[in-house]
């Protein structure tokens, strides 16, 4: 695998050496065929031991699929090592209090 990767939105990190191994056992519930289990064991150098969690999913027989495109209207913006935000009215804005604007060295003129 390659990185960077995390387990979830809180940022639980996996090791940057990307030597992760993920093992899974996927199977239906014995009493309810509309429940699917995924036992996931993660082996990674950011961990002191293999970490096993069981994910549970329920089946939808008549699904509605929604296209979900992260790139569409994404208001996050990375310039170099800094993360900024795009405002609702289309301007660059800080993501943190007191954050400096980006360096505009490659532009001929500077705006306010």
């Amino acid at each position: 695998m390659k990185g960077p990767r995390t387990y979830e939105g809180s940022g639980l990190p996996l090791h940057k050496d990307n030597q992760t191994i993920v093992k899974e056992r996927i199977y239906l519930d014995k009493t309810n065929p509309d429940i699917l289990y995924d036992e996931i064991t993660t082996i990674d150098h950011a961990l002191t031991r293999p970490w096993t969690v069981t994910k549970k999913f329920r089946r939808e027989h008549n699904p509605t699929w929604f296209e979900n495109d992260c790139s569409e209207d994404n208001h996050h913006l990375a310039i170099g090592k800094e993360h900024y935000f795009l405002s609702g009215d289309g301007y660059l804005m800080p993501a943190k209090k007191g954050q400096a604007p980006p360096d505009l060295r490659y532009f001929n003129q500077s705006k306010k």
Binding site: Y91, F107, K112
Partner: protein, 278 residues
């Protein structure tokens, strides 16, 4: 009710139940397995039988031809024109069938999946005889309903006819920015089949009906099969040097700074920052 009616009814129900329980017989369907790629030396323009850009001779209405020309001028100046995918939104239909990076087709009993590595696009082509949905959310890939055809009468399906509706935009036919209408009333019809003399060539006759066009536009896309493929993950958002702020597109320099995409382009408005950078 006579007893023989009940017997016939029971027999009919039994036959229907048996048919429903029958396993999916792959031999009824063509072998479209493996990886499908654009042939070597073929560009990524929409109609690969013609040169790119104006050579495509796209049957655009005068209004949309003017939009296209303005787009070409903007692209020549370093802009993106009417090609919206520099922010990594999907190509959508019909452009996805340019198959910039390889494609895989997975045939199931009631649905055929088309996965395209470029921009991680996924098509679902429903072949279960359903009607068009009334309230489906529009999408870049649209809603596709297909029908298998046994054109040769050999007892095995060989053609998949597909219609795609319910699209959203913005979309273009290819990277030169040939535009589709902003009303997103596009209908895409396809006939997909293997070459009769070479089963490792797949044809997709794509007809686009769109209000930016003066007439339906049909092109035939061709793909060649790789039986033992190597799949390379292609993540557009990784290392994307294009930046969009408001209505302007900029670039990120190799050393990590914001830079103009066009000559003399002013920097972005920094009104929401308390201090100005150098």
């Amino acid at each position: 009710m006579p007893s023989w009616i009940g017997s016939i009814t029971l027999a009919a129900v039994t036959v229907i139940a048996a048919a429903g329980a029958q396993a999916f017989d792959q031999s009824n369907y063509p072998d479209w397995s493996g990886q499908w790629k654009r042939p070597a030396g073929v560009g990524n323009q929409w109609d690969t039988s013609k040169p790119p850009r104006r050579g495509q001779q796209a049957p655009l209405t005068p209004e949309y031809q003017a939009i296209y020309e303005a787009n070409l001028k903007d692209q020549a100046a370093g802009g993106q024109g009417t090609d919206p995918t520099y922010t990594c939104i999907p190509d959508g239909m019909p452009r996805a069938m340019n198959v910039i990076f390889p494609m895989e087709i997975i045939i199931q009993p009631n649905i055929t999946y088309v996965t395209i590595e470029y921009l991680s696009m996924l098509r679902r082509i429903y072949t279960d005889g359903r009607n068009w949905p009334k309230d489906a959310e529009p999408s870049f890939m649209g809603y596709s309903i297909g029908k298998w055809i046994d054109e040769d009468g050999r007892g095995r399906y060989n053609v998949l006819e597909v219609e795609t509706r319910n699209l959203k935009g913005p979309r273009a036919f290819d990277a030169s920015g040939i535009p589709l209408h902003t009303d997103n009333q596009t209908v895409v019809k396809e006939r997909i089949y293997l070459d009769k003399s070479d089963p490792n060539i797949l044809h997709d006759e794509v007809t686009t009906i769109d209000n930016a066009l003066t007439r339906p536009w049909t092109v035939t896309k061709n793909y060649h099969r790789v039986r033992n493929p190597v799949w390379v993950e292609a993540i557009c958002a990784e290392g994307n040097q294009h930046v969009r702020i408001g209505k302007e597109n900029y670039m990120l320099s190799a050393d990590g700074y914001l830079m103009p995409a066009k000559k003399d382009q002013p920097p972005p408005d920094l009104r929401y920052f308390k201090q100005t950078g150098k």
